[in-house]
């Protein structure tokens, strides 16, 4: 009831207050709003925004975590170093490839799964459980399990490949296969989440639209292409952004399964930041990398929104 009031009051800001005297009702609304928001806002401030500011500040310092008191102001040197040395570029490149791989595989597969779950076909309940299980399982458990599955000498996947006549694959120990293997694992882990989001989108579509299209002469495939998919673009945008942001920040697979190797082939940026700060003890440089990552994530998701928004502007 009072929420819209708060929102308009908040966005109108001080100007509105100068024009109109604050009524008692408005005052009460503000107190209520503050009361409800306080617990969350305080946590957000302490654990999210304060660290952000500290991170920004640290990115212009050169210091080690062993002795943070000895910090030297270096201006933008951390950022110029990033350009000078290859580690950042390589790591960002690996991360982009990883994110791209995850997004382009998750989206179509999750969508197809959602179509299946939304149909009247049998075994829906079973499939629903199967795809949701990895989503709710700890990333550590998933990574450990996949390490076993992908084991080059006696992993289950190589066992199956041997059965169908394909020789043992190196997987995580190969520069060419390690990143794709991590992508497949992440796909397996995240596709259920994507499917559930798509399913919610599908179930929100008014059934008359597909019915109208069928009467208009569309085959099942034409209904899908001309009506269902365009109408789901809002959901698609959401899934793309979520999956991109998630993948850009992935850490567990690199940390637990490959330690960024072989030869930095899976050196995901967050893992690289972790290494830089805690192993190499270059906290200032790590902060600078974090700042760039933050800006990159912001830029990519803003771009995605802008690109896709024009499609769902109806």
């Amino acid at each position: 009831m009072s929420v819209p009031n708060i929102l308009t009051a908040a966005s109108a800001g001080t100007k509105a207050r100068a024009r109109k005297p604050v009524t008692r009702r408005q005052k009460r609304d503000w107190v209520f709003a503050a009361g409800f928001l306080a617990p969350f806002m305080i946590l957000l401030l302490v654990f999210q925004y304060v660290p952000l500011v500290v991170m920004a500040k640290n990115s212009v310092l050169d210091y080690s975590l062993l002795n943070p008191a000895v910090a030297k102001f270096v201006g933008l040197r951390n950022f110029t170093d990033m350009i000078e040395y290859e580690d950042a570029a390589v790591s960002f490149g690996v991360t982009f490839l990883f994110a791209l791989g995850v997004v382009v595989t998750v989206i179509p597969i999750a969508f197809l799964l959602a179509l299946f779950l939304n149909s009247k076909l049998p075994a829906r309940g079973l499939v629903r459980t199967m795809i949701m299980l990895p989503v709710v399982t700890s990333a550590v458990v998933v990574a450990t399990m996949w390490s076993f599955l992908l084991d080059p000498s006696n992993g289950l996947i190589n066992g199956v490949l041997n059965l169908i006549g394909v020789g043992n694959q190196p997987f995580l120990t190969s520069t060419g296969q390690a990143l794709p293997a991590l992508i497949v694992m992440t796909l397996w882990q995240q596709v259920g989440f994507g499917a559930i989001l798509f399913l919610a989108g599908l179930q929100g579509l008014p059934p008359e639209l597909t019915e109208a299209a069928r009467i208009d002469g569309a085959t099942k495939r034409q209904v899908l292409w001309n009506v269902t998919i365009p109408l789901l673009s809002r959901t698609t945008l959401f899934v793309v952004v979520i999956m991109t942001v998630f993948s850009l920040q992935a850490f567990a697979p690199a940390f637990l399964m490959t330690q960024g190797g072989p030869q930095e082939a899976t050196n995901l940026i967050v893992y690289h930041i972790y290494n830089t700060a805690f192993i190499m003890q270059q906290a200032g440089y790590a902060s600078a990398l974090s700042v760039v990552l933050l800006l990159v994530v912001l830029a990519i998701s803003t771009l995605q929104m802008a690109l896709l928004r024009s499609r769902w502007n109806y």
Partner: protein, 360 residues
């Protein structure tokens, strides 16, 4: 243009305890405008959706022209449908909405354009062709939905309560427009509504559905003047018919009906049938406009309430223990609490068997 024929059609939804449609047979002539009416939940939409192919039949057959269609996909049936909430594609412009079916059919661009423009002209939506549905008013959306059906030039038009989301005035306009369009296109049309005014004004034939069965069918006038059952009598006509308990008695002038204290000679046409029911109760149905005030008043009642409707006054009173209403010329209507002298136009009444509800 094509005949449509429903043969012993039945429908039982999954998980439903009772049949929604039971053994429904209906033959619709090519070019006919048939209106399905009935109270909410009687199975009108279900019937229409089975004809469209959106619902499967549990029983029976549906024929359009000389093809049996009940196993065919909607797109193979050569039909067009207008939905209650219009179901316009929100991501397409008006022109794209209207041409969607034609584009799917691979029609030539020039021909598509010609048809869309022609339909837009008829429906007076030419200036809206580049807009999206969300930029249209309810009435405009309604026209676009009709346009989308028209351009396809289908064998059969199906309408499911197309006007129920419009306000009363617009509904009146669109009703007139639909009738005009039907005169022009002469397309076989099946139109579902629960609004009996729409049914009466649009239909060549009205089919009254009740609990999944056809209660009666006929021209609007037939249904109005000779309802076959008490249900139809109560459903058709507004304000609704008054139902009064009566008893068949023998008076000096022959068979008569005893209504409350009054003994009124039975209508000549029905006297013979009633003679067999001497001493038995019947229910008589009197339309509000069949109470008249003239030189030979037969009843005196006390007015509970009088509503001035403009050209007529609706007078409410209690008679024979039943709340009744009479539509009288304002100059003859008495005010609240006053006495009102009335006569029942006996040659216009309907008489029902109270046990079966069937007309005698």
């Amino acid at each position: 243009m094509a005949d449509v024929s429903l043969k012993h059609v039945g429908k039982t939804y999954e998980n439903a305890s009772a049949n929604t449609i039971e053994d429904l047979s209906l033959d619709i002539r090519s070019g006919e405008f048939v209106v399905l009416v009935g109270p909410s939940g009687c199975g009108k939409s279900t019937t229409l959706r089975m004809i469209a192919g959106l619902e499967e039949l549990s029983d029976g057959q549906i024929w359009i022209g000389d093809r049996r269609v009940d196993e065919l996909e909607p797109r193979e049936r050569d039909i067009a449908m207008v939905f209650q909430n219009y179901a316009l594609y929100p991501h397409m412009t008006v022109a794209q909405n209207m041409s969607f079916g034609l584009r799917l059919a691979g029609m030539e661009k020039v021909e598509i354009r010609r048809r869309v423009e022609a339909a837009a002209e008829v429906l007076d939506i030419g200036v809206l062709l580049d807009r999206r549905p969300r930029q249209l008013s309810g009435g405009q959306r309604q026209r676009v939905a009709m346009g989308r059906a028209m351009v396809r030039d289908p064998a059969v038009f199906l309408f499911d309560e197309p006007l129920s989301n419009l306000d009363a005035k617009l509904r009146g306009q669109m009703r007139a427009e639909i009738r005009r369009l039907h005169k022009r296109l002469k397309a076989t049309t099946i139109y579902v509504t629960h609004d009996q005014v729409e049914a009466m004004t649009l239909a060549d034939r009205v089919v009254v559905l009740h609990r999944g069965k056809i209660e009666q069918q006929g021209t609007p006038q037939e249904l109005y003047e000779r309802p076959a059952t008490r249900f139809v009598a109560g459903f058709i006509g507004s304000p609704t018919m008054n139902f009064l308990p009566a008893e068949v008695v023998m008076s000096d002038d022959g068979v008569a009906l005893k209504l409350d204290e009054a003994i009124l000679p039975a209508p000549a046409a029905k006297a013979e049938g009633l003679a067999k029911r001497l001493g038995q109760p019947v229910e008589i149905g009197v339309r509000p406009e069949h109470f008249v005030v003239d030189a030979a008043p037969a009843l005196t009642v006390t007015v509970d309430m009088a509503e001035l409707l403009g050209p007529t006054t609706l007078v409410h009173f209690t008679f024979a223990g039943v709340a009744c209403s009479a539509m009288l010329p304002p100059e003859h209507a008495s005010g609240e609490g006053e006495q009102q002298k009335l006569r029942i136009a006996f040659d216009r009444i309907s008489i029902f068997d109270p046990a079966t509800g069937r007309a005698l």
